[in-house]
């Protein structure tokens, strides 16, 4: 049973939260930059007005007047907390007036402006001008607004952002849960045998993609269920309608035999009964193949099977028959090799492989069975092998090789059924290509005949 380990919906919600956090951070940075730029523009305008005023004072009152006014301005502490800083220096760099500690790196000759450091923490917008040759003035202004505006901006973003992200998470979770429930309903329908009916009952008129998916799923499931039911009915009827008349026919032969006919006729009658048995076996095998194919990938009804014990038991069962046929049957079975499967079908699979080997390996030959974890089951022999032109066809239904003894013994369905059973269990039955030396398993090596390998599909 495949079940999702991680839900797509919780991942979607997490992605939405991360995305909104990134967006908020970006917005916060943009707002901060815009506010800073606006405040700086305001400071620049104030500095320029101040410079113009001071230049007027210098023009009318001279250097001494200017120094006195700068001192006056420095003495005045403005109400809004913003403060201007000044520096008036002569050509030698001697400070005439002002409170700035040193000449900032601004060129007075070009009236350069820029942000300068006042001390370690505070910065201010400043402009340096040359009032006269040998007399430079620096005016710097720190806006009192910048710090509180930025901190309230931060507050707004933190509080608003938290609420926003919480809302995104909540709404995302609600939406995800709703979607999850609807998707779960579809998954449940596939998991449970009668799922289609519940899905149909739950479904309303398709209003969105999931409704449409649910409707398609319900229809597909219903079709699969119908097909399986039809297959089961047909195969049961087929079995019943063929086996019942065969059974009557067989009974007539039994009655004829009971009348003690002459030996030659009795032999014919017994042969006819044998033919009836063969027809029944062929029918059964065909239906078994169909059932195995129909149930491929469906794990219901399967249980853990001790494959090691099963293979060992089968080999022991066949050992005597192999010996009587002049064959050496060896098995090399790793302990505790298990598989989840149908024990009856797996017995059938191993039996069919051994029947096949016993039928086609000539007397004096060897058969080696190897089971390794995986599970990997190898049945190898040193018989004549499979002719290249027959390799592709040996798993076909009704294909018969040239065995020893009767030319067409058996139904020709043994390997086809073995393959269908292997596939039902997620295994692949294959005929190893080329020389047998490449095959895994010590006893299977260098046998030189046919090498059948049953191993997991992947």
């Amino acid at each position: 049973m495949i079940r999702a380990q991680r839900s797509i919906f919780s991942r979607l919600v997490a992605a939405a939260i991360i995305l909104s956090l990134v967006l908020l951070a970006g917005l916060w940075w943009l707002a901060r930059e815009a506010v800073s730029a606006t405040l700086q523009d305001a400071a620049a305008a104030e500095v320029d007005v101040d410079i113009a005023g001071l230049a007027d004072i210098y023009a009318s009152g001279g250097e001494a007047e200017l120094a006195a006014r700068i001192a006056d301005r420095l003495a005045l502490i403005p109400m809004d907390g913003s403060a201007s800083h000044y520096l008036l220096v002569d050509a030698d760099g001697k400070v005439i007036a002002g409170d700035l500690a040193a000449m900032p790196p601004l060129d007075p000759a070009t009236s350069q402006s820029g942000v300068i450091a006042l001390d370690r923490e505070s910065h201010a917008f400043a402009r340096a001008v040359q009032l006269a040759p040998g007399l430079s003035l620096v005016v710097a202004r720190r806006t009192a607004l910048e710090a509180p505006v930025l901190s309230s901006l931060a507050l707004v973003f933190t509080a608003g952002g938290t609420v926003f992200v919480a809302l995104v998470a909540l709404l995302g979770k609600l939406a995800a849960r709703r979607l999850e429930r609807r998707i779960d309903q579809i998954n449940l329908a596939f998991r449970e045998p009668q799922g289609a009916a519940t899905l149909m009952a739950a479904g309303t008129a398709p209003s969105d993609e999931i409704d449409e998916l649910a409707a398609h799923s319900a229809a597909a499931l219903a079709r699969v269920n119908d097909l399986l039911a039809a297959y089961k009915d047909t195969s049961e009827q087929l079995a019943h309608e063929i086996r019942t008349p065969l059974s009557h026919l067989d009974n007539r032969l039994v009655k004829a035999l009971a009348e003690r006919p002459e030996p030659r006729i009795a032999e014919r009658l017994a042969e006819a009964r044998g033919e009836i048995r063969r027809i029944v076996q062929t029918l059964e095998s065909l239906l078994d193949i169909a059932a195995s194919k129909a149930n491929r990938g469906d794990s219901s009804g399967l249980a853990p099977v001790d494959l090691s014990a099963l293979v060992t038991g089968m080999c022991e069962l066949y050992a005597g028959s192999a010996e009587e046929a002049g064959l050496e049957l060896r098995w090399n079975v790793a302990p505790d090799v298990g598989i989840v499967g149908d024990v009856r079908q797996l017995s059938r699979l191993v039996t069919n492989m051994l029947d096949n080997a016993l039928k086609y390996v000539p007397a004096g030959g060897r058969i080696a069975v190897t089971l390794e974890p995986g599970p990997v089951l190898v049945i190898a022999d040193d018989g004549p092998g499979i002719a290249p032109q027959d390799r592709a066809r040996i798993f076909d239904r009704f294909y018969r090789g040239r065995g020893r003894g009767e030319e067409t013994s058996g139904s020709g369905l043994g390997l086809a059924l073995a393959q269908a059973i292997a596939e039902r269990h997620g295994l692949v039955l294959s005929l190893e290509e080329g020389d047998a030396g490449a095959v895994a398993g010590a006893t299977a090596r260098d046998m030189g005949g046919a090498v059948f390998r049953i191993a997991p599909a992947s």
């Binding site: 029944v280 039996t351 051994l354 013994s409």
Partner: protein, 226 residues
């Protein structure tokens, strides 16, 4: 034995009737499931034979209803549905045995007898004695004329099954099912060969035969006495 047979096909019912007449058993035939349920509730039977596909109820439903109703009479399903999975359905559904059509008359008789024997509890003792043979079920040892028989574990299983059905015909299908847990007949003659080996161990050093081959149907354990 008194046997109830539920079958909607008169021809099949006639065939079974003839077979059981010949073996001296009493057969009561019902052609519907509901009538069979009614009768099984009122009269005692030794074995019940059920067809699977009936007009009204199917054999598996009848089996379930009988068991729910506290009727523990051994049930043999005799059906045209003979695939391995069909047998599994029947046996998992509460039936004691399953035989597919067409069948050997001897097979049906042997199965019915085995079911009846098992129900009468003859096989549950710790030591089974038959003629010259002894089977110690717990110790897993076998003796003939007090001489220990060196049997492999599987051979002991075979011997024990023969002892449980001593003196009666045991068919290949019965052996495959009870000893090897297989519900199909392999193409190879595995049963005959394994019986041959057991026979050698049972007869080695003794004058009288131990196992009799019944042509076309199976084997019978003899008492091994002179």
């Amino acid at each position: 034995m008194r046997i109830l047979y539920v079958e909607d096909d008169p021809r099949s019912a006639a065939v079974v009737g003839e077979i059981l007449d010949a073996s001296g058993d009493v057969l009561v035939w019902e052609d519907t499931g509901s009538a069979a349920l009614l009768r099984a509730g009122m009269e005692p039977f030794d074995v019940i034979i059920l067809d699977r596909m009936l007009g009204d109820l199917d054999g598996l439903t009848i089996t379930r209803r009988l068991r729910e109703g506290g009727i523990g009479t051994p049930i043999l399903i005799l059906s045209a549905l003979g695939r391995s999975s069909d047998r599994a359905d029947g046996l998992d559904g509460g039936a004691d045995d399953y035989l597919a059509k067409p069948f050997e008359p001897e097979e049906l008789i042997a199965r019915l007898k085995a079911l009846h024997r098992r129900a009468s509890g003859r096989e549950h003792s710790a030591v089974i004695l038959y003629g010259a043979f002894e089977c110690h079920v717990k110790a897993r040892t076998a003796f003939r004329d007090n001489r220990h028989l060196p049997l492999s574990p599987k051979e002991f299983e075979l011997f024990r099954y023969f002892m449980e059905n001593a003196g009666e015909v045991v068919t290949r299908e019965m052996l495959l099912r009870h000893v090897w847990k297989m519900d199909f007949d392999p193409q190879t003659n595995v049963v005959d060969v394994n019986i041959g080996r057991l026979r050698r161990k049972l007869e080695d050093g003794f004058d009288r035969p131990a196992l009799e081959t019944i042509f076309g149907s199976g084997y019978r354990l003899l008492d091994g006495r002179p």
